[in-house]
C-alpha cells in the first residue's frame, strides 16, 4: 500500500484535527463519541491524554494533535474510537477530533517519499490530497517521541 504505485478504492472516515484534515480507513472504526469527559490520573505514558468511558468500557485517548499538527489538542472535541493493535491484541482507542467526521471513498495513492510512516497514502478528496493515517504506526511514533522527550526532560 504505502509507497506502492498501485491505487486502491475503499471507504474512509475524514476527520479534522485542528485545521488539518486526515483520513482513516473505515474498517476498524467503532464510533464517533461526543465530547465526553476526559479522565486523567497519574501515569508516565505521555502520548496518552487520559481515558474516556464509553458503553461501560474504559477507552484510552491518544494525544495525536501535537504530532500531526504541531499544536495542542483543541478543547472542544469529539473522540473517534477505532480498534488499534497494541502488541498482539486489539484495543478500542480514541483520538480527539475537531467537529464531526464524514465518510468518503476515493483513490489512495502512495505517500510522499519524505512522509512519516504513519501516513500510509494520500486520498484524493475535493481536489485535496488528504493523508491517510495508519493508527498503529502513529501510536508507535507518538510513544517513541514522548519517550524521547521524557529522556530529554
Amino acid at each position: 500500500m504505502s509507497g506502492a504505485g498501485a491505487t486502491e478504492r475503499a471507504s474512509y472516515v475524514l476527520l479534522r484535527i485542528g485545521n488539518r484534515r486526515f483520513a482513516l480507513p473505515s474498517r476498524g472504526i467503532v464510533e464517533l463519541a461526543p465530547p465526553v469527559r476526559l479522565h486523567d490520573f497519574p501515569h508516565s505514558s505521555k502520548f496518552v491524554a487520559g481515558v474516556i468511558v464509553r458503553r461501560g468500557r474504559i477507552v484510552p485517548v491518544y494525544d495525536v494533535a501535537p504530532l500531526l499538527t504541531g499544536r495542542e489538542s483543541p478543547l472542544h472535541r469529539f473522540y473517534l474510537i477505532s480498534n488499534v493493535v497494541v502488541g498482539t491484541e486489539q484495543e478500542a482507542s480514541a483520538i480527539p477530533v475537531t467537529g464531526e467526521c464524514e465518510l468518503a471513498s476515493g483513490d489512495v495513492g502512495p505517500r510522499a517519499e519524505d512522509d512519516p510512516d504513519y501516513f500510509q497514502g494520500k486520498l484524493s478528496v475535493d481536489e485535496e490530497a488528504v493523508n491517510v493515517l495508519n493508527l498503529e504506526a502513529l501510536v508507535a511514533a507518538g510513544a517513541a517521541r514522548a519517550a524521547l522527550q521524557g529522556v530529554r526532560a
Binding site: P34, V51, R54, A143
Partner: protein, 173 residues
C-alpha cells in the same frame, strides 16, 4: 460508523466486589483494597517512632517505622506517582509488604464491583503502580497495587540502609 450519544459506564454487579479505601495524594484520588491496609495512623502519631534513613537511591523513602519487629519503609505517595508534593497527614501501613504510604488524607470507603484492566496504551511505570481502574460515581480512579510501591531491588537498597542505621545505633549505644 455509529454516532452515539452521551452515556455512562454500566455498573456491573460482580460476585467479587471488594472494599476499597479512597485516599488522596497530590490532589489526586486513588483506591486501595481495604484488606491490603493493616493500619492507618496520623503522621503526628508516628513522629517519634519514625527512623530517618541515610540514603538517596530511593528518593521516595526517607524514613522507616518498626511495627511488631518488622521494618516498614515509608513511601511518599506524591513522589511515587510523580505528583507535586503536598503535606501528608496520614500513613497507610500495608499488610503484606513491608511498606507504609504517606498520603494527604482518606476520602471514604467504597465497594468496588468491577476493576477494569489498565488499557494497554499505558506502557510506563503505571503498569506496576495500578491493578486496574475503577469507575466510581462518574470518576475513573486508579486502583493501586500495594506491591508496586517498592521493587525487590528497592527493598534491598533500603534494607541495607536500615542495617546501617541500626548498626550506628548499636555503636553509639
Amino acid at each position: 460508523m455509529k454516532i452515539a450519544s452521551h452515556d455512562k459506564a454500566k455498573p456491573r454487579r460482580g460476585k467479587n466486589s471488594e472494599q476499597a479505601i479512597l485516599f488522596n495524594a497530590g490532589h489526586r484520588t486513588f483506591a486501595i483494597a481495604a484488606e491490603s491496609v493493616q493500619e492507618i495512623r496520623s503522621t503526628d502519631s508516628l513522629g517519634g517512632s519514625a527512623i530517618e534513613l541515610d540514603q538517596t537511591d530511593v528518593p521516595k523513602v526517607k524514613h522507616l517505622v518498626e511495627r511488631a519487629g518488622r521494618n516498614y519503609f515509608i513511601v511518599n505517595a506524591c513522589t511515587h506517582f510523580g505528583l507535586r508534593l503536598t503535606r501528608p497527614t496520614l500513613v497507610l501501613i500495608l499488610r503484606q509488604i513491608r511498606a507504609a504510604v504517606l498520603v494527604d488524607g482518606i476520602e471514604r470507603m467504597e465497594e468496588l464491583n468491577a476493576i477494569h484492566a489498565l488499557p494497554k496504551a499505558f506502557r510506563g511505570e503505571e503498569r506496576n503502580w495500578y491493578r486496574g481502574l475503577a469507575y466510581i460515581e462518574d470518576n475513573v480512579i486508579p486502583v493501586v497495587s500495594p506491591s508496586g510501591f517498592l521493587t525487590a531491588a528497592e527493598f534491598e537498597t533500603l534494607d541495607a540502609a536500615a542495617k546501617a542505621v541500626q548498626f550506628e545505633g548499636v555503636a553509639e549505644g
